[in-house]
Amino acid sequence: SAVISQKPSRDICQRGTSLTIQCQVDSQVTMMFWYRQQPGQSLTLIATANQGSEATYESGFVIDKFPISRPNLTFSTLTVSNMSPEDSSIYLCSVLGTGDDEQYFGPGTRLTVT
């Protein structure tokens, strides 16, 4: 399975600011995704990070709030913009394993907005 790292691992941010989260994979992967996990809740897919094109967002998530970049097959960023306390969550990137349908998660970024 791929080794996935995320930066930062946690952050405390003020309302109205933005935070960019990085996801790095140790091998090239075709599919990368971003999920959100609100406190005590399940995981919700935010978007698919497409290499070389705009991300594909799920219902309820928009590019202005969660801009995503994917410049190559091993790296992606998610920005949480104009944050409010409701954005306090764990943000996780995931990747599909090469040649199969197994999906692996990064360690997550725990974001607290005050």
Binding site: F33, S42, T44, L45, T48, T56, L92, D101, Q103, F105
Partner: protein
């Protein structure tokens, strides 16, 4: 469409067995099972793709029914390390724009006591 997991919580003594169910109202392409410990990322357990499939090993195994609408995770002779929240993630359609997009159940909290 979010799958329904049951039960919501299970409390076991070491050595006891548990079954966690994941149901969908529509046929699925795949079911993924994860275990998440507090403060950590979800850890991939297994994926089921075929109707009637059973896989895993003697301690942790899973099944996918013929209609591909229900999956069960079997935890046998539980150990303290099995404690955590178990999530099923379902993929609705094969390939296309839905490929790799998982919808997660609400989770089942499993607690194993000595």
């Amino acid at each position: 469409q979010q799958p329904v997991q049951s039960p919501q919580a299970v409390i076991l003594r070491e050595g006891e067995d548990a079954v966690i169910n994941c149901s969908s109202s529509k046929a699925l392409y795949s079911v993924h099972w994860y275990r998440q410990k507090h403060g950590e990322a979800p850890v991939f357990l297994m994926i089921l793709l075929k109707g009637g499939e059973q896989k895993g090993h003697e301690k942790i195994s899973a099944s996918f029914n013929e209609k591909k609408q229900q999956s069960s995770l079997y935890l046998t002779a539980s150990q303290l390390s099995y404690s955590g929240t178990y999530f099923c993630g379902t993929e609705q359609n094969a390939g296309g724009t839905s490929y790799g997009k998982l919808t997660f159940g609400q989770g089942t909290i499993l607690t194993v006591h000595p």
